[in-house]
């Protein structure tokens, strides 16, 4: 059964018109003109229990809006949304008992309480039995290395420490789904790694369904086999990370180190991306010829010191996707 099902879901925001200047602000006292902004437009997808899905899209694509609707704190304008068989906003509290939510940019901890008091309060709020609580807490404290600062007030924690506590909190009541809205934003590499590893374990071993939004493609690569890409509220891709790479990643980046300045290279399908002296990066468009054939064409005419071929990483795949979307929009 689908743990989350979304059908034709739309959410609009009213943007009240403001008029410039003092006279304008007087005018907006009396007129209530507004425009409707679409944050989520006719979305349809479903998620199975145990999946880990990366939900991504450029800024303003409606990712947070979607997370908020799924967690029951924002009411959809139209369409159908079911989480664990319920309409989230109509059963906010029941829904809340079975989900965990982490906002990367907003703390859910009690600012002035020490970390373990926050955990303790959480136990009461979610009515967690003692044994379950102790077991889950021990697991999180251990895997996220929280013990060393458990007596510190939350406001004294570093961002990395706080984030680990937020994630631990969201899992203490054994939610079936964990929503994370940009959980690694602003963190250093070590903290990111720790969190990714933890989330992977939680998904693979504890079978918690994960839906996470991010701008960091490594989050997706390491945690989520499936990704949903949205742009301007619309679904533009839903499928596996590998399939998207196949679809868009046919281009290769080739770094060539020349012995002497080659000047302009005139080979069809080759564009210069970047140059650092004699070390130049080219983009080879998809063509009949293989990468080796093109390189040997170049090598026939210029002295080449070294060549390395790089597979497009997921980041550039996504960049290509966004660029394509922007281009389509301009044409359309």
């Amino acid at each position: 059964m689908d743990i989350i099902s979304v059908q034709g879901l739309t959410r609009t925001y009213r943007q009240y018109k403001r008029f410039p200047g003092i006279m304008g602000s007087m005018r907006s006292l009396f007129t209530r003109e507004y425009t409707e902004e679409l944050a989520v437009r006719e979305l349809t997808f479903s998620i199975q229990e145990g999946e880990a899905v990366g939900y991504l899209g450029p800024n303003g694509a409606g990712k947070s809006t979607m997370i908020k609707m799924m967690s029951g704190i924002l009411v959809p304008t139209s369409g159908e949304l079911h989480v664990l068989g319920r309409v989230p906003h109509l059963a906010r509290k029941e829904n809340a008992m079975q989900i965990g939510v982490v906002f990367g940019q907003r703390s859910q901890l009690w600012w002035d309480l020490p970390v373990n008091d926050s955990f303790d309060l959480h136990k009461y709020i979610y009515k967690i039995p003692d044994a379950t609580f102790e077991k889950n807490l021990a697991f999180c404290l251990d895997m996220l290395a929280i013990k060393e600062f458990i007596h510190k007030p939350v406001r004294q924690l570093s961002l990395g420490q706080r984030m680990r506590v937020e994630i631990a909190m969201a899992l203490l009541h054994e939610p079936r789904i964990l929503f994370l809205d940009e959980p690694t934003i602003g963190l250093d590499v070590m903290a990111k790694d720790q969190i990714r590893q933890f989330l992977r374990t939680v998904n693979r071993e504890k079978k918690v369904t994960i839906v996470l939004t991010t701008h960091d493609m490594k989050d997706i690569e390491e945690i989520c086999p499936r990704m949903i890409v949205v742009n301007k509220g619309e679904l533009v891709y839903d499928g596996s990370v590998t399939a998207l790479r196949k679809k868009l990643g046919n281009e290769r980046q080739v770094v060539i180190e020349f012995r002497e300045e080659p000047g302009l290279i005139d080979v069809p399908g080759v564009t210069l991306l970047q140059e650092e002296g004699l070390r130049k990066t080219y983009l080879f468009a998809k063509s009949e010829l293989s990468v080796f054939e093109i390189v040997s064409q170049i090598a026939a005419n210029y002295y080449i010191e070294d060549v390395s071929i790089e597979q497009a990483d997921i980041e550039s795949v996504i960049r290509r996707l966004y660029q394509q979307l922007a281009a389509n929009r301009q044409i359309g």
Partner: protein, 262 residues
């Protein structure tokens, strides 16, 4: 329920961090009572006005000044803050009732004020200005009930204002207005028995008198034993009415909820 009591305890201990404020509050309460006492001394002197003695007015002023420190209509500021910052999302994400969370959180503050500012202020004021005992045991009991009504009504009015803020995205003007109504119609400063008769009618039609006049008048025995239960019953009626209104508004407000930021 234990969960909500935890919120009260948390709010109480949070207040402990601001203990230096206690002294300012004690001085503030004392000065407020002092000013009122001086005014009534000048107005009433050694006589009676409309059957009210200076001694009664002193007691009335003490009760009203201290009661104001306990009321809960200030929660609208808290809701407004979390609406503007968007932190209301973190509160709604929890499996708890939002109004009950607000109520118990507010009660923590009330409890703190009761212990650290109101009780000492009461002691100081009764030693310095003199305070009359309650009219009777029945009146004392009814007074305590009336205090509960005052807390609940002030909470519901504050919550009502915060829900209206969902439409206006600005609660300042509304809470300013509420403050004005409370100052005048609660009889906190000028007891309702001094109002002209048409204004008495207006005051009687509004719930604000339960936040000042009613508890004090009950304490002093200006409300007879027969009237007592009727007054309390009407107060309960107000609570029921406000509850229904607030519930209805909430279901509509949630749809308008626009979570700010991120």
């Amino acid at each position: 329920m234990r969960t909500y009591v935890k919120f009260t305890a948390k709010a109480f201990s949070k207040q402990l961090a601001y203990r230096s404020e206690v002294w300012l509050r004690l001085i503030g309460n004392f000065v407020t009572v002092l000013i009122q006492v001086e005014i009534w001394r000048a107005v009433i002197g050694s006589e009676r006005i409309e059957g009210v003695t200076l001694e009664q007015m002193i007691t009335y002023s003490i009760i009203n000044t201290l009661l104001l420190a306990l009321l809960l209509h200030g929660i609208s500021g808290k809701v407004d803050e979390s609406l503007k910052s968007g932190s209301i999302a973190s509160e709604l994400i929890k499996p708890i009732s939002y109004p009950l969370f607000l109520l118990f959180d507010g009660l923590g503050n009330t409890l703190y004020q009761l212990v650290f500012t109101v009780a000492p202020s009461l002691l100081i004021a009764s030693l310095y200005f003199g305070m009359m005992p309650p009219a009777s045991w029945t009146h004392l009991f009814a007074f305590l009930l009336a205090l509960l009504l005052a807390l609940l009504i002030s909470f519901l009015l504050g919550y009502l204002i915060s829900l209206l803020a969902f439409w206006f995205m600005n609660h300042f003007a509304l809470s300013w207005m509420l403050g004005g109504f409370i100052t005048i119609f609660s009889g906190a400063f000028l007891p309702i028995w001094f109002f002209p008769s048409s204004w008495i009618t207006v005051a009687n039609l509004l719930p604000f008198q339960y936040m000042g006049y009613v508890p004090a008048a009950i304490y002093l025995g200006n409300i007879t034993t027969q009237e007592l239960w009727q007054v309390i019953a009407v107060g309960l009626g107000w609570i029921a009415g406000l509850l229904i209104l607030v519930q209805w508004l909430w279901t509509r407000a949630v749809k308008r909820l626009v979570l700010q930021g991120g």
